[in-house]
Amino acid sequence: MAEKNVILKIKRQSSPNEPAHWEEFSLRWRPAMNIIICLRDIAENPVTRDGKKTTPISYDSNCLEEVCGSCAMVINGKVKMACSALVDHLPQPITIEPMTKFPLVRDLAVNRQFMFDSLKRVKAWIPIDGTYSLGEGPRVAPEIQEKGYPLSRCMTCGLCLEVCPQVNDNNKFVGAAIISQVRLFNMHPTGAMHARERIQALLGEGGIEECANAQNCVQACPKSIPLTESIAEVNRAAWKQSLLGWLLG
């Protein structure tokens, strides 16, 4: 029986200042292969399909079980996590490109610092007094926990920003993930004490008003986080807050 192969077309770019080009690879197929295994195969034998020597592919990865948020890339035109992208589910040749909404580092590796900075902007934390002993936390109704927990599984992977038409060069939109974090912290009993500050941080440039309701985010989210629900809820709070601010002058 002839050996089965996997054909990949990968967009290469050796640094942000160099032009991009494509390279094709042919790898030996094995059961349960994912894109990470393919990239490792190439690292062990960095030779293109037409026999040309090349360099291993640079890419972000860490946990390999879709919980750290590192290995997002555009696979066959759709942004997804490479670790859970199984070769057998992908038509060939499989094209792989870096995400486009973040500064490129090299090949498939990008810099998502913007998202971490945005978390800072909206104060996505509970402002505790200190780590010294202060007794138990507030009681939380199971209903709140069941709403909050799915939101708190957000890995800051950036898929929702990649698919959002409002995230572009002319716009500093923080994106759905960040808005959803505001909802999470504002629903926690202690976090709610500082809800206004977080909403305030979402008013103005790059804030919630930039959302144009394309709803791509919720479809792209690998953790099925109800992002549009979060946006709607935070949006109501933002309207209320800015209207009140206007009335009170």
């Binding site: 050796s14 640094s15 349960a32 994912n34 990470i36 295994i37 690292a43 062990e44 034998n45 960095p46 090349t54 360099t55 291993p56 640079s58 890419y59 990865s61 860490n62 946990c63 390999l64 079980e65 879709e66 919980v67 750290c68 590192s70 859970s84 580092v105 090299r106 590796a109 998502r112 610092q113 971490f116 978390l119 800072k120 104060k123 996505a124 934390w125 509970i126 402002p127 505790i128 200190g130 780590t131 002993s133 202060l134 138990e136 936390g137 009681r139 939380v140 109704a141 199971p142 926990q145 909050g148 927990y149 708190s152 599984r153 890995m155 800051t156 912290f185 926690h188 202690t190 976090g191």
Partner: protein
């Protein structure tokens, strides 16, 4: 007064906790991490975190938590610090709760607790089946807050290369490499806290993340920091085998009622659901009636190996057994275990709510690690501290499930203030150290990079790494035989020789992941030898260290800590007594209540 400066290397649970504690004391802290800290390996912890809060009215106490931990660790852990950890655990849960962790709740709005391996109490607080992720995020958020206030400076995308030691062997800072520009830079500090996690990559495939190479620990070892109990490696009983990684199936699946079984007849090819109860062999429940599916991990792992390799009862003759949660109702599964069931479904294409999962043991955790003192996480080199999985203090010969998260937070919380105190008491700070000390260390690291980038060789680092993983997995995990360990060490030395002939397929100077990996590989090879030689020397069976030729625990000769030293380029094994001042050792068995 002189303002000291602290560095933390590693941004998992231990590193973040240490960072917070240092920042709270008003001392500036630089935090180094290979990946953005929010992507650290702690996110992979699933099942929960232990604390004897006794919220189920079972009469649980911190003394019982201590006893379970010491007994589970087969009496190899020094007991006083473990006691402090167990005593502090309820307060740690309170703290995490205050930080907003979305722990599962009871109808009364209190934290819910589940059962875990090696205990008969409901002692494990949890946030679905992604508890590590949830705890890491809570600490990450607190660190971000301190960062916004200017108290913490993050260096994400940097890898630690070496400690800078002055002429009297005192740590005065580190060298690190910017993984984008590949520049080696010097960072002076008065004290450095290492929280660099596990060593899974040494075994090729494990449940660990890509960054868990043990490279930092190995570098420190080569610079004179001792390494303790390296031979104690935990193999988790239930993981999904994969070519790139062994994906963990949390013990919480069994904590919530999951059962491990195989068909009694190995030739039974029926779908698992149609095999009647009496034709299923629930071997853990039969062999260990008291603890059943919740025996400690070393016991469950050896039982599964026995089923597969001796009883020849593996599924379809393969290395796999069933982990079955399909009898539990869907609503409970989704509320308590969704995170892990989703992983199984995504990677195996089968819904574990409907069909039993196929699992097999996989390398998971290192009980051993950097030697630290019995007081405050200090290593044997002044100015160097360690906390979290990278050190050896809390788990003895086998770690109990859900004790890792608590040990990370406790150890990190201890190391932070200890490093601050040390730095404040220094007569002369790092600013008084002549620049030549930093320059020579930088040069040593630059030269290393230059040599790797320019040398022409025949060996590929990925190939050497794969062979390293195969050797370690075959000979230095579940069952250890002296002649095989000797063989393994010979292979490792041969790999070290081949390493000297490696050829980097990438010689560029921008974001060169091959160069970084090559550097890590050299360190992995050495640490692999520390583990193997430690295992070879220890002629007994204790916790996760099992030798069929020496099947019993031997307290007369081996109730002692292995303390490896690196002297003149050679690994030397020394031993020191274990502090058993609180609980006298007794026989460890799980077929009856202890």
């Amino acid at each position: 007064m002189r303002q000291p400066k602290i560095i933390v290397v590693g941004g998992g649970l231990a590193g973040l906790m240490a960072t917070i504690r240092v920042a709270e004391s008003g001392v500036p802290v630089d935090l180094f991490s290979i990946v953005p800290v929010k992507r650290s390996h702690s996110v992979c912890a699933q099942g929960g975190i232990n604390a004897a809060k006794n919220q189920k009215g079972e009469g649980d106490t911190t003394a019982k938590h201590l006893d379970d931990t010491i007994y589970g660790g087969d009496f190899l852990a020094n007991q006083p610090l473990v006691k402090r950890m167990c005593d502090d655990a309820p307060g740690i849960i309170d703290l995490l709760d205050r930080m907003g962790v979305m722990f599962n709740r009871t109808p009364e709005g209190l934290l819910d607790y589940r059962r875990f391996g090696g205990t008969l109490y409901h002692r494990t607080a949890f946030a679905g089946a992604t508890t590590g992720q949830q705890l890491l995020y809570a600490l990450d958020e607190q660190v971000r807050r301190h960062e916004a206030e200017g108290k913490v400076k993050k260096f994400e995308g940097y890898t630690f290369l070496s400690a800078v030691l002055d002429d009297s062997g005192v740590c005065r800072g580190i060298t690190a490499m910017d993984l984008r520009s590949m520049e080696v830079k010097v960072f002076p500090a008065d004290a450095v806290i290492f929280c660099t996690g596990g060593i899974g990559a040494i075994f090729g495939r494990s449940t660990n993340s890509v960054v868990c190479t043990g490279s930092a620990q190995s570098v420190l070892f080569q610079q004179g920091v001792d390494y303790a109990n390296g031979e104690f490696i935990q193999v988790h009983p239930t993981s999904i085998p994969g070519e790139d990684k062994l994906r963990l199936m949390s013990e919480s699946a069994r904590g919530e009622g999951g059962r491990v079984w195989v068909p009694r007849n190995p030739k039974d090819t029926r779908a698992p659901k149609s095999i009647p109860e009496n034709e299923r062999f629930y071997f853990l429940e039969e062999w260990y009636p008291k603890y059943g599916n919740l025996v400690p991990r070393d016991i469950a792992t050896r039982a599964i190996h026995r089923i597969v390799y001796q009883e020849k009862l593996g599924l379809n003759g393969q290395a796999a057994v069933y982990l079955d949660v399909s009898h539990i109702d869907r609503e409970t599964l989704d509320r308590k275990l969704e995170g892990i069931l989703e992983i199984y479904e995504k990677f195996c294409g089968v819904d574990p709510r409907e069909e039993p999962m196929k699992v097999f043991p996989g390398m998971h955790y290192t009980m051993g690690g950097i030697w630290v003192n019995a007081v405050d996480q200090a290593t044997n080199l002044p100015g160097i501290y360690a906390a979290g999985e990278c050190e050896y203090q809390y788990h003895g010969a086998n770690r109990l499930g859900a004790n890792s998260l608590v040990s990370c937070i406790f150890g990190g919380g201890l190391a932070g203030p200890a490093a601050v105190k040390y730095a404040r008491n220094l007569e002369k700070g790092t600013e008084s150290v002549p620049s030549t000390v930093f320059d020579r260390e930088k040069k040593r690291q630059d030269d290393k990079n230059q040599a790797l980038l320019s040398q022409d060789g025949t060996e590929n680092p990925m190939t050497i790494w794969r062979e390293l993983g195969d050797i370690m997995t075959e000979h230095v995990t579940v069952t250890r035989i002296n002649k095989n360990l000797q063989l393994a060490d010979g292979h490792l030395q041969a790999l070290q020789a081949r390493y000297r002939k490696i050829n980097l397929s990438d010689r560029t100077k921008w974001s060169n992941q091959t160069l970084n990996f090559a550097r890590e590989l050299e360190n992995m090879l050495l640490l692999a030898r520390v583990i193997t030689l430690g295992a070879l020397a220890r002629n007994e069976s204790r916790g996760a260290h099992y030798k069929p030729d020496f099947p019993d625990r031997d307290d007369a000769n081996w109730l002692k800590t292995t303390r490896a030293k690196y002297v003149n380029g050679e690994i030397q094994l020394t031993y020191e007594p274990v502090d058993i001042s609180l609980i006298p050792p007794r026989v460890r068995k799980y077929d009856a209540a202890k």
